[in-house]
């Protein structure tokens, strides 16, 4: 319990640091959201707009106001979009990005684990080499190269799937696979090497000796022990999927969160930059926390400690 409280405090601290850093960095950028309109609109209009978004107030005031609103989960208005605020932007983009990320996660986990386990069971045989060749290719080919290639083959030449855009479930297949390819390969390699380690252990021989079938040995004793390194990769994996969506959403013209984030930076849309940054960080931080908690479920020998090692 003490561990969980301590971690929650650290998480809050982290989010505060991120918010402050982003706020400071954002405001050191020369110009503001309206400086690009200065030749189109008269100065008075611009000043009115600035006043509307409190941009004419001193920075410490803006900062405290933002923190106050953040505490009540209000991420503020979007400057670029007049009708929607940051909360609605996230509410609109999140389901799209989350579906994409979730499908990619499932594909990567299921196929990565299967590939790794099969490779380890056929160690140094053709199947092992084939699986590892696939894995190393998956690591080597970046998603932004793989995605256009898949569009070319599956969408243009064979016409099986839509080229881009968003709508039906068919639209989600190519982006999810492109996003999953890298993590899938890494998971396969992790699984293989840790399964190889586990297969050598004495308790595997014991399980075999007491007459447990091959499937039982692999599932009950093998995977459970081999999965820890895979779980610890979940943190970087989720981060990878978050950043990966930026590119994938751009290539497939998908209206997700990543698009808003990149656009907001170019538009100097302060509240959207802050809001999406904080949101992404919270997702990542909470994931890291859940992963730490799940260690204990998988392996009761692991004790939770507040130290980072």
């Amino acid at each position: 319990m003490k561990f969980i409280l301590k971690r929650l405090l650290t998480m809050l601290l982290t989010i505060w640091v991120i918010t402050t850093l982003t706020f400071v960095i954002m405001h050191t950028i020369p110009g503001d959201p309206f400086s690009s309109d200065s030749d189109v609109l008269p100065e008075e209009v611009l000043n009115n707009m600035r006043a509307k978004f409190n941009l004419d107030k001193p920075l410490p005031f803006q900062y405290l106001l933002y923190l106050k609103n953040l505490a009540s989960f209000d991420l503020g208005p979007s400057i670029e979009s007049e009708t929607r605020n940051v909360n609605t932007l996230i509410a609109e983009g999140l389901p799209v990005s989350a579906l994409l990320g979730f499908q990619a996660l499932v594909i990567a986990l299921v196929f990565g684990l299967i590939l790794g386990i099969i490779a380890s069971l056929f160690h140094n045989r053709t199947i092992d080499y084939a699986a590892m060749t696939i894995a190393i290719l998956g690591i080597s080919v970046p998603s932004f190269i793989l995605a256009p290639l898949m569009i070319k083959v599956f969408a243009v030449q064979w016409g099986m799937l839509p080229v881009a855009s968003w709508g039906t479930w068919k639209h989600t297949i190519l982006p999810s696979v492109a996003l999953a390819a890298g993590p899938l390969a890494i998971i396969a390699r992790f699984t293989r090497s840790s399964m190889l380690e586990v297969l050598k252990q004495n308790y595997m021989k014991t399980a075999d000796a007491k007459g447990l079938g091959a499937a039982g040995i692999v599932v009950k004793h093998g995977i459970r022990n081999a999965i820890i390194p895979v779980v610890s990769f979940m943190g970087p994996l989720v981060a990878h999927l978050l950043t990966g969506t930026f590119v994938i959403e751009k290539i497939f013209a998908i209206p997700g969160l990543g698009k808003y984030f990149v656009d907001s930076i170019f538009n100097r849309d302060y509240p959207v930059i802050l809001g999406t940054t904080i949101f992404f960080s919270v997702v990542l931080i909470v994931t890291l926390f859940l992963i730490d908690l799940s260690y204990r479920l998988i392996d009761p020998r692991i004790k939770l400690s507040s130290r980072g090692d």
């Binding site: 954002m26 569009i151 930059i273 960080s281």
Partner: protein, 315 residues
Amino acid sequence: MLEKASHDSLFRPLEKGRLKKEEIRRPGVSQAKESFRRVLKNKLAVTGAIILLLILFFAIFGPRMVPYSYSDQSLASGNLSPDGKHWFGTDDLGRDMWARTWYGARISLTIGVAAALIDLVVGLLVGGISGYMAGRGKLGDRIDNGLMRIVEILYSIPYLLVVILLLVVMKPGLWTIVIALSITGWVSMARVVRGQILQIKQQEFVAAAQKLGTPHGAIILKHLFPNMLGIIIVNLTFTIPNAIFAEAFLSFIGLGVQAPIASWGTMANDALGVILSGQWWRLFFPGFMISLTMFAFNVFGDGLQDALDPHQAKD
């Protein structure tokens, strides 16, 4: 008692005085030499190393092999497919893709190596101090805790957010990317180094050195550092491709090096619009080069890891 006869043929009593006592008769093989020998025996590692050397060779000499520079535009010869004149074809502005691809290799490799080296230095310092101070009195523990808190916070910030924000503040360019990548990149190296030091510190030879009064500096340089070298080198072979990948990624979303400078990422990004109209070479060459470099570094790193890990030496 064993049968004497059966052993006579195998063993013979040593003549007294023929060998000096405690003389070292075989030339000593240093750890580095032994590791090097094992790396050479690992086919994958050698393949990776050869590919990397080839890429390096072409990065240095490739742009000079053709009479075009990476930024020479000629609208008359735009969008040419690969032929005898333009080995990798040309892009829509008539720039030679061979020159651009290898010029891009320079940019990508520079960014990768520079970012990895900065990560290495900062990571070694922070991880080293943290690991060495841990368990050394109240102050030591406090330093360790403080540094690790910073590392933890940086670790849970999505690096791309930091990088993108920084790139907006600073002028886009090669060194901006290097700095942006290293600001968050050193964290994993620091964690690895700290973990290693904590582990090695516990071992008897360090305790012995401490009891004999060896100064801190000498313990760090002579005992801790050489024992971590393998892991550090392996970590480097994974940091460099990650940095190259990150650069390509940033260039791809438009935050990388600015035109006319070419990098593999910007070239792939430029090619995205024309992939459907059949100009395959625009995406193929930069894409293939990124993939090949990633492949070579990964394979080389894997081989190195196996070769430097004494537990796996016999597998």
